[in-house]
Every structure is written in C-alpha cells, then in structure tokens.
Symmetry: C2
Subunit: 588 residues, 2 copies
C-alpha cells in the first residue's frame, strides 16, 4: 500500500515545521506558475484558462502518488509543442475539436503511463538514447522560439516545422504591429537582463544569495504585472496589442472525455510519444533533485503518478502535463519538503482561477511569448552536439537526424526517426564485432592480439577472440569470419573461439556455431571454445551443441593452449583434463 501511495510514508512524520516550508514554497510556485500555465496553453494553441486547469488536479494526483519530494508537474514547453502538433493535425486551432483532441491526448497519455507503470515497463524509456532526447529537446526549443515570434511581431503565422513557421512568418512581415513589437522586444530584453544580471545586482545591494536567486526567477511575474498594468492603463489593446481577453470564471468543471475510437486511434502514436518524452524528462529532473538530498525515486511508481496526473488533467479539461524542470527547481529552492507543497500550489491556482482571472484580461500575448522564448532558450544545447561529435560519429548522426527531421518535418517524425536510427546503428555496430587472433604472451598465461603484441602462436592452432555477444545481427558475420580465416590457413587443425566477452549466444548464433562446427569438421578442423561465461554455458547445456562439438571446452585459454599446441604438447602430455568433462566449472 505504501509502495502504491508514497504519500502515506511522508504523511506520518508531517509536522508544523514541514507545513510552513511547504506553504512558503507553494506561494512562490503558485505566483510563478500562473504566467507559465497561461503561456504554455498559448503555445499548445489552447485558450489560456486550459493552462490553469492543467495546473490544479494534476498536482494533487502527483502529491498522492509521486515518489519525488520536489517535482512540480504541470504544462511544460516540449509537451505543449507536441500537443499543438498532434491536435493541429486533426483540427483548426480555436475549434472545439482542437480542444477535444488536446484533452483526449492527456487522457490517452495518462492511460499509457498507467499501463506502463502497472506492467513495470519504465525500462521502455531507455530505448530513447541520450543523443536522441538531447537533439529532440534542442530542436523543440528552436521550433518553440520560432513559433512565438509571431506574437512578438504582432502578425499571424502557423505550422509545426521550422520551414512552415518561417514561410508564414515571412508572408506576414509587412503587417508588423509596431506597438506589439516595442512591447515584445522590451519584455524580451527585460527578461534576458533579469536572467543574466539581476541576481548579481541584488547581491550587490546586499540581498542574500537564495533570495536574489528567487527574485531573479520572478522576472516573468514582474513582466506580466507590469505589461498588464501598462496595457490596461493606456488602453493599448485598442492600439493593436493582442491580449489574453476574457477568461471564463468559475468552478472547475469535471467531465469524462468523449470516447471516440477513431480519434483515439489517430492520436495514439502522438500520445505514446508524449508519454515517453514526458516521462524521460520528468524522471531526469526528479532524479537530479533527489540526488542532491540523498533521496531515491522509483521510476515505475513515477509512471503511475504521471499517469494519474494526466488522467486528472483530462477529466478537468486540461492538456498533457509532466514534471517540469524550471518549476521543480523553484519548488526545491523555495524549500518544499514534501509533495504536499504541490497540493497547496494546486489550491493556490484554484483560487486564482476562481477569483483573479478578470485581472488577466489585459495581459498582452507578446509578454507570454517573451517568457516562453526566454524559457526555451535554455533547452537549446549546442555544446552537447559538439561533445557528441567528438565522442561518437554514430551517436552524432542519430542526434543530427533527430534535430533535422524535427525541425524540417515535425516533432513526431523527429523522435521516431531518431529512435529508429539509433536502433539500426546499434545493430550495425554490433553486427561486425571486434575480433582478434591471439597468441600467448611469453612467460605468462595471458593471450593478446597478435597484431598488437609479440606473442607465441602455433600454425596448427588458430585462436580467435570475439569481443561481442553473439546474436542474430552478427551470427552470419561470425560464420564468414571463421571460414575466411580457416581458408587462409590450410595448416590449421584446431580453432579455439575465446569467449570472455560473449555475454549471450542466442538461437541464431547457436545455429551458426553448429554450422561452423559441422563445416570445419568436414575439412578436418576441430572447434573448441574457451572462457565461456557461466550463464552462457548454462544455456548451451540446454542444446545439443556440446554433444556435437568436435573439440573441447576449456576453462581458460591457457588450458586450451597447453592441450592443443604442438610445442607445449611435447612438454606437457597430460593436458586438457577439463575439456569435455561435463562436471567442470565454467568461467567465471
């Protein structure tokens, strides 16, 4: 029960001191979350109040089921972009169908996460390699920033790829609204200054570091308050500055999203990608924060928690949510000690939704766009591209394909092609495994690559070390390798496959070994194995291979050498006591 409801754990020791910490953090996060929720709803192409809806019940659900003490869930940039792309494929922004699609996405992605949690499939998230995620997030950041330029310029533009956005922006360049541009660029400048300088300035004024840090993070809130006041006071909404406008006031309406099988089917892939990307992002934030306080999170329980949060978002009319980096850091820095802080934040946002929405009427969209642009700039990680290029060309190519396809085609195609390519590259990489012909380092019992070391060899014994697990992708290569090497050396009578790095022999590789054994036998060469690992040996015992094997199996390569090589056979005639003995113990 405690495993399933981690809140029972921390609730036991909850006290007044912790309550105070959580309440303070909740107030700070609430203030910060309001502009963020409105902005991400705008990014997702949804009415601003939907952002608020998505920031109430999901937080309560996470407080009940989540294992991280500091994670704050809600709308986040990348997931909002993915929502816009998926819903935009089906309906026009602003239409009822568009909103329905967003809500169904939250529900589906909630159900997918819950299923993954119940079946402990958190491991599936591992199939997203780091370069693919990193490339995807960088590309998303660029697309998001580009998509918000229209609000700064006061023109209209749309599209889900950089190309579409760029083309529609270029068309509208003649209609730039100067008032909007002034306000937008001003806000952008202010936010960038706050981000880079305010901290230092405040510390210069004698403020302590943590407070200065929090104040700097409140930049978006200051911008929202100031620009809303200016717009209201001077009536700038009549001068072409587009504002958020009237927001329906009142209670949150709970409803079960419509069940439309065709719609579910159309949104399934998008929901799956949103689930996995959201989960990976959230877990990495949660793990980073947990490590700072020596806490642990449980990834499979996190699936349940995020799944419930998304279902909660869907039934209250919201869109997909996940754990966000910036708000979680604010929550952590503001001193939140338990997930209760999230529940208090939810209460705060509920109050704002009920009472304060009229104040938001005059909030300029340009301000929200500026806060989004500044927020997503930190997602663009060009250094990681350089680092990956230096480290591995293969990882680099998966990363670049992800970035380019995401930018040029769209977010779903980007993730899918990145994952597909990294799988193929992995298979390709292991399909021609590194191997070496080895010999005995004189005076030792060690065997090393004949090309790199001065070693003893015997023309009648070929010793081949394979540095990879043997499985379907390299089974045929192994056959070719062996036949080629044997064809080059007519004197060879014994082939020893040295297997210290073989962690697995699957059924395809077993077939290949059987074929090798049989064909070598036809040409008078016996096949031996050495240094076979325990689990691999256990599995081989379940086949007929060991009975058919023309040679022996040696615990270590030196035993094979002593037993098979001519030079040493003359000295040591009682060799190979372990080979073919079914009771011997395998390595290691």
């Amino acid at each position: 029960m405690k495993r399933f409801l981690p809140c029972l754990e921390w609730a036991k020791t909850y006290n007044k001191r912790v309550l105070t910490s959580d309440l303070v953090a909740a107030v700070i996060v609430t203030i910060m979350l309001i502009p963020q929720s409105l902005a991400y709803a705008l990014l997702a192409g949804l009415p601003p109040e939907v952002g608020l809806y998505a920031s109430i019940l999901p937080l309560v659900a996470y407080a009940l089921f989540g294992t991280s003490r500091s994670l704050a869930v809600g709308p986040v940039a990348v997931v909002s972009l993915m929502t816009a792309a998926a819903a935009g494929n089906l309906a026009q922004q602003g239409s009822a169908e568009y909103l329905t699609a967003a809500i169904v996405l939250a529900l589906l992605s909630g159900l997918i996460l819950l299923l993954m949690g119940f079946f402990k499939l958190g491991i599936l998230a591992n199939f997203l390699s780091h370069p693919v995620i990193s490339g995807f997030i960088t590309a998303s950041g660029i697309i998001i920033a580009a998509s918000q330029l229209k609000h700064i310029l006061g023109i209209s533009a749309n599209g889900h790829s950089l190309l579409e956005i760029g083309l529609t922006l270029a068309e509208g360049l003649g209609n730039i609204n100067l008032n909007t541009l002034l306000l937008g660029v001003g806000t952008l400048g202010f936010l960038l200054w706050v981000r880079s300088r305010l901290n230092a300035v405040l510390i210069g004024f004698g403020l302590n570091g943590r407070l200065a840090d929090l104040a700097a993070k409140a930049g978006p809130v200051m911008a929202v308050v100031a620009t809303t006041a200016i717009t209201y006071y001077w009536g700038l909404d009549d001068r072409g500055i587009s504002v958020v406008g009237a927001i329906p006031q009142g209670l949150l309406a709970l409803a079960i999203p419509t069940f439309d099988f065709a719609l579910w089917q159309e949104l399934f892939l998008a929901a799956l990608l949103i689930s996995v990307i959201g989960f990976v992002e959230s877990v990495s934030v949660a793990q980073t924060l947990a490590a700072k306080r020596r806490q642990r999170i449980r990834p499979n329980q996190e699936l349940i928690a995020l799944g419930s949060s998304n279902v909660a978002s869907a039934v209250s009319g919201g869109f997909p949510v996940t754990g966000g980096f910036s708000r979680s850091v604010v929550n952590f820095d503001a001193g939140a000690e338990t997930p209760a802080a999230g529940a208090f934040t939810a209460a705060g946002i509920l109050m704002v939704t009920l009472l304060l929405t009229p104040l938001i009427h005059f909030l300029p969209k340009a301000t929200l766009a500026a806060t989004i642009i500044v927020a997503v700039l930190s997602l663009v990680d060009l250094k990681s591209i350089k680092r990956t290029w230096d480290y591995s060309r293969s990882d680099f190519s998966a990363m670049m394909v992800t970035i380019l396809v995401t930018l040029l085609v769209g977010v779903e195609a980007g993730v899918v092609s990145g994952v597909g390519l990294s799988l193929l590259l992995h298979l390709y990489r292991t399909s021609k495994p590194h191997s070496a012909i080895v010999g005995l380092v004189p005076g030792t019992q060690h065997f090393r690559n004949v090309d790199r070391h001065q070693v003893d060899t015997d023309p009648t014994v070929l010793m081949l070390r394979i540095d990879e697990s043997l499985y379907f992708a390299n089974a045929r290569y192994l056959e070719d390798l062996v036949y080629d090497q044997i064809a080059l050396r007519p004197q060879v009578k014994h082939l020893v496959l040295m297997c210290p790095a073989v962690n697995l022999i699957d059924a395809s590789a077993l077939e290949s070994l059987e074929a090798i054994n049989e064909r070598l036998n036809d040409s008078g060469v016996s096949l031996h194995l050495s240094e076979v690992k325990g689990p691999v040996m256990d599995q081989l015992r379940r086949s007929h291979f060991l009975q058919q094997l023309t040679g022996g199996i040696f615990l270590c390569q030196y035993d094979a050498w002593r037993s098979l090589s001519k030079g040493s056979r003359q000295i040591d005639m009682d060799a190979n006591p372990t080979a073919k003995n079914p009771g011997f113990e395998s390595t290691p």
Copy 2:
C-alpha cells in the same frame, strides 16, 4: 570486372567434360522445373504460363552474375505466397491489375536487391533472426498447404491467412467434387509414397543410390504425365475436374513494366520483404551447397545476381523469383558444375514454352496442388520450435509470434512483427545486463563473483563487474544499480567498475558514467575503472570523462585491488603506478 561478372571466371576453364555434366543436369532440372513453375504460378494466383516466363530469363541472369555453382533460381513456394498476398491486397485474382502487381513486385524487388548489392547492404538480412525466418517459413508452409486444399476438394476458397482460408473452405464443403477429390487424394498419396518409399524400392531392385534418388525426385513429373493422360483420355475435365486449360503459345514478350508511382508505393513494403526473405533463403541454400564442395559464395554479389534475375523476370512478364532449395539440390545432385547449367535449363524451358504448352492443357489443377502440398510439408519444421523452446524462451517467443501472426493475420504482418519483437527482446535482454560483485580468489590474481566463490573482499572497496556493453538501453539501469549498491554499503569509499566484457560505451552510457562519477563524488566515493578494452579506452579519451574521473583507471583488476584495498595497502605501499598515467597501455 571478374568480381562483377563471376561467369568470366569459370568460362575460362570451361571444357567438354564440364559441358556434358551441365547439359545432363539441365535436362533433369528442366523436366522437374516445368510442373514446379506451373504449380507456383497457381499458388501465386497467376496464369500458369507466368510460371514458365519466370523460369527462363532469370536463370540466364543468374548464370551471368551469380557466385554459386549450383544454385537454381525460379519461382519458389514462400515467395509465391508473399506475391499472392501482396497482389491480392490490390486486385482480384485473374484481373489484369493482379498480373501487373505481380510483375511490378518482381521489378521492385529486383531494384531493391540491386541497390542493396551496390551499397553492400547484405548485412541487413542479418536483422532477420533465425527463429523468425524459421517460424515464418513453417507458418508459410502451413498456409500454402491449406490454400491448396481447395484444388484437391474441387471447391473455391480464398484468403491470405489461415482463418480466412479455413472459413471459406468450410463454406464450400457442401460442393466438394468427388472426381477431383479422388484424383487429388490419389496423387497426394502417390507423391507421399514416392517421397518416402520409392528410393528404397528402386535400390531393392538393384538401381544405384544416386539414380534412385533422382527418380524419386521425378515423382511430381510422373504424376503430371499420368494425371494429364488420364484426364485427356477419359475427358475428366467435363466431369468437374478443373484443368490448366489453354496456354498462350509463342515467343516470350519483353516489356518494361508500367511506372505507376502510387502502385510502386503501395507495393514497396511487400517488395522489400520479398527481397529480404528471398535473399536469406537463397543465400542459405547457396552456402550449404558451396560448403559441400569447399567453394565460397559472395553474399553481396548474390544480391546483384538475384536483383538482375528479378528484373529479368519482370521484363519478361514473370513474378518474383529466388534461389530454391529443392531445385538447387536436384541441380547439384544431377552434377551441374557451373551456372551454365542454369542457362541450358532456361533454353529447355523456353523450348517447352514455345512448343509443348498444348500438352499441358489437360493437366488437372488438383495434381499441381498435390505437388505443392507435398513440397511445402518439408518447410514445416516443428522440431525447430521444440529446440528453440528448450534453448531460449526469448527466441521462442519471437518465433511463436511470427508463426501466429503469419497464420492469423498474414505474411507481411508476420515478418514485421517477428523482426520488431526480436529487436525489442534483444534490447530488453541487454537492458538489464548480468553483473556481479567480485572479490579476490585467495592466492591468485583472479577475481570472481562473491556469490559463487569464496573470495577476499574489502568493505571500503566495492568491485562491480558489468557483463555487457554499455549503451542507451542499459545506461539508466547502470545508474540505478550503482546507486542501489552504494546505498546498501555506507562504508564504501571506492567503487571499481570492472569492464572486461564492455565492448562499447556509447554517448548515453558516457552521460550515465559522468552522472555516477559526479553523484558518487558528492557522497565521498571515488569511481575507478579496470580492464577497459583498447577500443573503448580510445573512445573515452575523446571525451572529458577521464579528466573528471575521481578515481583511476587500472590495467587489471589486481592492480586496483592492491592500490585501493586496506589490507593490501598496508603490505604494498607503492601501489597503483599505472592509474591516472595517460601513457599506460589499456587491456587487452
């Protein structure tokens, strides 16, 4: 040039003796190939003459480009079934569109094979694991046998999955034609008897083994001649026995298939699967036969040869072809010494097509169906299912999914889901790698699993051996494993990751190692690596990881132990001369 046209190689030494051998083989194969070509055209849902067209030019193309001395190409069972499934998705059997689709499939699959050959992508075929191919061929054999029952029963039935075929067969059961049933079951019984007994009977009569074997293989030809004669003589075609009928007589018409982009797009996946399955089947036949005579084939040149054969089939109005097992074995046994035998066979079949087709008019379809059923029964390999179950549950599940999806949904879905599942299972299998905490075997320099052996350990030094390459699928697991093990042992000051089985560290795993290094440092534990392989070490040098590493890198685990463990430090104070030394040589 000789690499691209292997015929230049064998043509140099061609002489009268070889010519005689090749001619004899060609006559035998021609006789055997005629009923087979007609039967597989019937299986593919095409007019019988298309089977003949597909057995002329493709053989000439293979004779020019192929590297196997004994392979015989032409229509084969599995590929014919796949052709029927793909063409049947687009058009009604018997329509002109259906024939066009089959021809375009041959052309596309020829082009795909040629492209794969030019780019040396033969390795892609390795992604079909052995259990998937074996399961697919078994399921195809069952479907083919079921699909031919209608000809034996004299009723109509259709469908591409066992379910559809079964249902339509059940509907028609009331209309069984008794004459057809009698003829069909009689032929089936005769063919089965020939297959299992004739050989022994003939040897009993004093015939030599090889001739008896060839005579037994001529069973289908005998059945064709006998049932055609009976049908003609008694006019059985008027009594409900359906016959092949009139075949257009005359010259082979060459034509370039229509280019219809939409059609090409629709058939692309099917053509890709036909190419890969056909290639894998053909190469394995060719390799088996080549090994018997100590010859080698070149898989990438085989792609070119099979690609040309399919293009040749398409331009002469035929359907997809590949190297077939039974006819290649006949060719081999009949003494074919060079691919010229294939060219002579082509000439033989051309003559039959030009002159003898009227004789085929009264050939009953039930006879062809019986020859197909007997031929495909050998494809069903139930022992291999049992063997795979014993050896590996994971390979078994990929095999069963392939079999079940092929039987119940269809051939394309079967291959795709089998390949997809075997990829996922491979990732899953490596996503939780085997690992062991190791200790020093007293009196040696060897380190073994503490759970399996009596070994020395030090509570401040945790030595962890990872038995798998580190890459994206297991990077996060590695982090979890390390944090869990460290959390269990508060005394630990040093963690040594022992990497003798780590053949690769990709960018995702590098990120995880960096995170581990940093988080362990926060809790006062240093991270060391030992026995890092040469290529892995080379790659790590291209990152900043080695500079950030809090501990050292040891050539062998024993050095790490001497340098870090308390007990041995007191004895041996000058430990660890190699750690952190950039010039040391890595293992192995």
